[in-house]
Symmetry: C2
Subunit: 347 residues, 2 copies
């Protein structure tokens, strides 16, 4: 006898031109699922515990004719992203009943993971002491983004100055703390005085509120008196222009994201790129999934730093899958503080 | 008894805000020199044979309070740049009377090179069959710029597409021909139909006139049907935007110069830099003088290619030192065709 229960989903229902608004571009839908549905070989049924809302997801909400590294989302289908789940039933060798898994999947309370989709899942790979939500943050994609970006593309040398925009975000706060472990002079900016205070608490040498700082070029010259050697770029636009003015010769710009531009119909122009030549700068865009070879070192180092108390980690947790559209909007508007996640159910 | 003769000089007399105009920003001055002037140890007296006008020189004509990799020129002093000269008298071990030397020096008919300045000079280092003017071009700074830029920063792989803007210029024409030797698909743009014709003659797979091409993004999509893997950037501005639209994933932008921006009071903005992230592009500025370790290989390879007829090389030669200010303006306005030099005297 089928055991059918409600199964709430977050549906991508319309392409946004600026921000994705709850109830318009992202909507709640209640479908059903049969928990006793037969599982083919390699399949498993998961119950969603936590989901992640991240800036890159906005870039998938586009006209599918525009090609990019990540396919456009399909209208009227569930939003997809980082999740932590528990396996309820399994016909898989690797993912047994009761296992906690993190993976890339649909935002719905219950889902059957096919054999093909299982490749995007993995067993909890860090110490049990670390909270489950962290597997979407410092021990998940944002953490590895910080790690890969700083080491592989930033190539920092002890004593250099590292500047991070959107520094209190999921990635930025980790980049800064790893920078301090490496002996760098670390400066960050964020969009509220509370966030700036937090950056100083977790060890940033300098931090400022970009919204009240006035002239950004001058502010960077003040806070980075020796110039900037490595810029961890999360925002783009006017901030990038001000950074270019303050970069040292042979500086590196790690282009992780340009969130200030994603929700604009007309992106801002960068007017001082000739400095790339005269200062011999390198700017490099990267995506964490291109560097799977660094995964093992990342998990090992980050778990160690966490357990030693060298890395602090701040999250904004929304409660209930219904809050997902609002959590996405809040994150894109910078209202979150630290990594934004949504807790869907307890383990 | 002193042997004093006239000594014409090209003087930098006013900071330009757009183009440097002959008679206003660059002026002719006739001083004198005593050809029998005593030479201290290490000094030598040279007679100028050929001088070079290059885009980077415009960047030195600025307010000296603006710092950059290359110091600002000093007002009311001679312009400085690449030269080929013959040694008339010498008190130097290395630079003997009669030697042909290339070096970085003042634009005047005769000059005493001090012991300190001698480090910027070298003896003719390639085969005698190659014309002297070439030591300011394919066997000089522009040639090495092409070589270093393409190999060290472009890292091209056989079969990839290389696109070059300002492709008929001193550097661009060499980049394209080296690209063909390496087995790349080579596309270039230039500012006249004659220049485009020349690019096809020297082996470019495709070439177009950017002034009559209409929509540059579309034109690049047509001429680079497999996308662009390496962009040798000489111009900046709208061209760079169109290239970003057409770059392939993991493409490399070798930022050699951005000549379209040097003579503008208000530089153009680049609006699609978020593509740096989504396509994982690398953009790197470079200056040839940072790579002296490649000099020997460059001279060896380039001489070989020249003598084998694998590299053709076009110059625009102005005659007489008086033509220098006009030659500079012509070059900055794109009226030259190939490397612009000024022949001052015969050997």
């Amino acid at each position: 006898m089928p055991h059918t229960i409600p199964n709430k989903q977050v549906i991508y229902s319309k392409i946004p031109t600026t921000y994705p608004f709850p109830g318009e571009h992202l909507t709640l839908h209640e479908s059903t699922i049969d928990l006793d549905t037969p599982l083919k070989e390699g399949e498993f049924l998961v119950k969603l515990l936590v989901l992640s809302v991240d800036p890159y997801m906005r870039a998938r909400m586009r006209d599918p004719s525009i090609k990019s590294y990540f396919s456009a989302l399909t209208l009227d289908k569930p939003l997809e992203g980082g999740t932590v789940s528990v396996v309820l039933r399994s016909n898989s060798e690797k993912f047994k009943e009761g296992a906690v898994v993190s993976g890339f999947g649909p935002f719905q309370e219950y889902a059957v993971v096919s054999k093909e989709a299982a490749g995007a899942y993995e067993l909890r790979n860090g110490p049990k002491e670390i909270p489950l939500t962290n597997y979407l943050g410092n021990l998940g994609m944002p953490g590895m983004t910080a790690y890969v970006g700083l080491f592989k593309y930033g190539k920092p040398k002890k004593g250099e100055t590292l500047y991070i925009s959107a520094a209190s975000g999921a990635v930025g706060q980790l980049v800064g703390q790893i920078g301090k472990i490496l002996g760098l002079y670390v400066v960050g900016s964020a969009g509220s005085d509370d966030k700036v205070e937090y950056l100083k608490e977790i060890g940033f040498d300098e931090a400022f509120n970009y919204k009240t700082a006035g002239d950004l070029t001058k502010k960077l010259a003040e806070t980075c008196p020796k110039g900037i050697d490595v810029y961890f770029e999360n925002v783009g636009g006017k901030m990038l222009e001000a950074v270019l003015d303050n970069m040292n010769q042979f500086g590196r710009i790690v282009a992780c994201g340009m969130i200030s531009q994603y929700n604009r119909e007309n992106p801002e122009g960068i007017h001082n790129l000739t400095l790339m030549v005269t200062k011999r700068l390198r700017m490099e865009g990267f995506i964490v999934s291109d560097s799977p070879e660094m995964k093992e070192d990342f998990i090992k180092d980050m778990s160690k730093w966490m357990l030693e108390g060298k890395i602090k980690y701040k999250e904004t947790i929304a409660h209930g899958i219904k809050q997902t559209p609002q959590a996405m909007l809040d994150m894109l508007q910078g209202k979150n503080f630290g990594k934004q996640v949504v807790k869907v159910a307890d383990l």
